[in-house]
């Protein structure tokens, strides 16, 4: 039943990741640190304060009434914003479908959140429509989210348009949340609308940006296979697969483009990380969280 979540747990349980898992927990908690959410303190009594809130011991030590400030352990909201358009049915740079990496990354974050009693929601969709799965804090709910991502992302889905999902988030949510955006290389390339939305959302929410690298069609591994452009379902001609000059130029262009996207997000103040395979997910997320926490402090 919860096979997708099972894969996430398995991934986290991999021996090499065990240490990271603990660290991930820490990094996750740190995400909300500094917001004084989990922080209780004392302050001087002001008329009108609840008498029950007076810390008598501290008052006795100091000599003037002090109020113990309880911050109710608030449930944080983690919203996964995932592109489930046709583009994500395509292969990633590592050779697995981008969807699988997206599910894994969303699953790991969601799992951490659920374990910390936070609520996880999902905004997924393509150019044809956006689906919202409300915020809940259970593992079965997380499994359901991952299933939605899994089912929506297919070759028959609409074309990807992340702006639609970002706009949905802008219109729908008024509370502050942690947005985990799962996008691909094409999401920010020359998209003015997306950038404006990202800036706008950044003002309201905490944003972590996960980029999933697209496949390199000039790789020799695919030379003997048919290649389909998910945008129009047409075959890509085979001639470029043997052209070494073209391959070099392609690699250079991808590097430039990736750097440009990361740079854009960096300038807005959003931490981002690019993942290319499933092995990349756990260490990649750790790097992302760590980088994010460091940058903020």
């Amino acid at each position: 039943m919860d096979e997708l979540l099972h894969r996430v747990r398995t991934r986290l349980a991999i021996r090499a990741h065990r240490r990271v898992r603990g660290l991930l927990d820490g990094e996750y908690v740190s995400l909300f640190h500094g917001k004084s959410l989990d922080f209780d303190d004392l302050r001087a009594y002001i008329p009108g304060d609840d008498v029950k809130d007076i810390d008598w011991k501290a008052t006795a030590r100091v000599g003037s009434p002090l109020i113990k400030r309880y911050i109710a352990t608030k449930k944080h909201a983690v919203l996964l914003v995932v592109d489930t358009g046709r583009d994500f049915a395509a292969l990633s740079e590592g050779g697995t479908p981008k969807r699988d990496i997206a599910i894994l990354a969303a699953g790991v974050i969601g799992y951490l959140a659920v374990r910390h009693g936070d609520h996880v929601g999902l905004v997924a969709g393509d150019a044809d429509g956006t689906e919202y799965v409300p915020l809940r804090g259970t593992e079965s709910h997380l499994e359901r989210l991952l299933r939605v991502i899994h089912q929506r992302t297919s070759m028959s889905a609409g074309p990807s348009r992340l702006a639609a999902q970002l706009d949905y988030v802008r219109r729908t949510f008024r509370r502050r949340m942690l947005l985990i955006v799962v996008a691909d290389d094409g999401a920010l390339a020359g998209q003015v609308e997306e950038l404006q939305l990202v800036r706008r959302l950044h003002a309201q929410h905490e944003i972590l940006w996960i980029t999933i690298g697209d496949v390199d069609p000039t790789l020799g591994d695919y030379a003997d296979k048919d290649m389909i452009d998910v945008a129009d379902g047409r075959d890509l001609p085979p001639f470029f697969r043997r052209d070494s000059a073209l391959r070099a130029e392609f690699e250079a262009a991808v590097a430039t483009r990736t750097a440009a996207s990361a740079d854009l997000l960096d300038r807005i103040g959003i931490s981002s990380h690019r993942m290319t395979s499933e092995e990349d997910v756990v260490p990649g997320l750790f790097r992302l969280l760590e980088g994010h926490n460091h940058a903020r402090r």
Partner: protein, 331 residues
């Protein structure tokens, strides 16, 4: 230009269409089967907007276009070759079944003319192919110098020898031997009659003609008169072409003979030429030859000649180019 098997292009059309349909079907089937295994790629514009991709695509398209062009050219060549491209020409076969007997009066006054005739025939023999030629010399009696033959080397030798004999200042007039055995001299009728009898294979359909060079100045009593000999020639459908150096105004005293000869010769459906100068002989003989040729052309025939050369060259070159483009496309 015409196709011998006009239905062949239609067959090709059907077969080519069938092959194309089959190829498309196989391709579609293969693609459907490989679809599950196909590599889905997003954001192909990352690749397709590269200048290197554009140039590669242009090269690929050029190679494809070239391949299609060459394949169609080779196909056209194959269609033309298999439907047998023929050129059609009407051909009038020149019937090389002529027999010519040179019938030369070797009386003293005729020697120069005889030499010119012999010289001209030496040139003509080079072009003979299937014609037979014979030579009869006559004065009082007729001597077969050589019978009708196609052995042109022998004919050349004999003509050369005779020409030398006729024209050389050192000549011993060997050719006269045997020509003076009759009663009198210049027995033209006997000479012509003898010449008519030189034709063999009378049953066979051959063109028979005599080139008779004489001044028709008879001195003596011939067995056959010239008109009688002419009648014999007509009876055996032998044309007589007369060359008469005596039929000129300076020799009016023999005008009667010339007249007789002209009538006899024309009666055989031949030709008559009066002249004073031996140097006119070659053109006359050529004329006779020409006349004979035109008369002897047979029924016009429709000849179809296969013209496979340029489609063949095209297909060979095209096949080489197909290999080249195939290599370019597969590379």
């Amino acid at each position: 230009m015409e196709l011998m098997y006009w239905w062949m292009p239609l067959l090709w059309l059907v077969v080519t269409a069938g092959v194309i349909v089959l190829a498309l079907w196989l391709h579609a089937r293969r693609r459907a089967r490989n679809l599950a295994d196909a590599v889905p790629v997003a954001h192909s514009d990352r690749l397709t907007e590269l200048p290197a991709y554009r140039t590669a695509l242009a090269r690929y398209r050029a190679a494809l276009f070239g391949a299609v062009l060459v394949v169609s050219l080779v196909l056209v060549a194959a269609v033309l070759m298999s439907s047998r491209l023929v050129s059609i020409s009407t051909y009038q076969p020149e019937m090389r079944n002529r027999d010519i007997v040179l019938c030369l009066d070797v009386s003293g006054s005729m020697v120069d003319y005889d030499a010119a005739i012999v010289r001209t025939f030496r040139d003509l023999v080079d072009n003979f192919d299937g014609e037979r030629i014979g030579l009869v010399l006559f004065n009082a009696s007729a001597v077969t110098y050589f019978p009708l033959t196609t052995d042109y080397r022998f004919v050349q030798e004999q003509l050369a020898y005779l020409e030398n004999d006729l024209s050389s200042p050192l000549s011993d007039y060997e050719f006269i031997n045997g020509t003076l055995l009759g009663e009198g001299s210049s027995l033209i009728g006997d000479g012509l009659g003898s010449c008519v009898l030189r034709f063999d294979d009378v049953d066979k359909e051959r063109s028979r003609s005599i080139v008779l060079a004489t001044d028709n100045y008879v001195a003596g009593r011939p067995i056959l008169t010239l008109p009688e000999a002419g009648a014999l020639a007509t009876e055996r459908s032998v044309r007589v072409y007369g060359i008469n150096p005596g039929d000129v105004s300076s020799k009016e005293y023999i005008a009667e003979f010339a007249n007789e000869m002209k009538q006899v010769v024309l009666a055989t459906d031949g030709g008559y030429f009066a002249l004073a100068d031996p140097s006119a002989i070659p053109s006359i003989v050529d004329g006779i030859e020409q006349q004979q040729t035109t008369r002897l052309t047979g029924e016009p025939m429709l000849v179809r000649t296969d013209e496979p050369s340029w489609p063949f060259v095209l297909s060979v070159l095209g096949t080489a180019l197909i290999m080249y483009f195939g290599w370019r496309l597969k590379r």
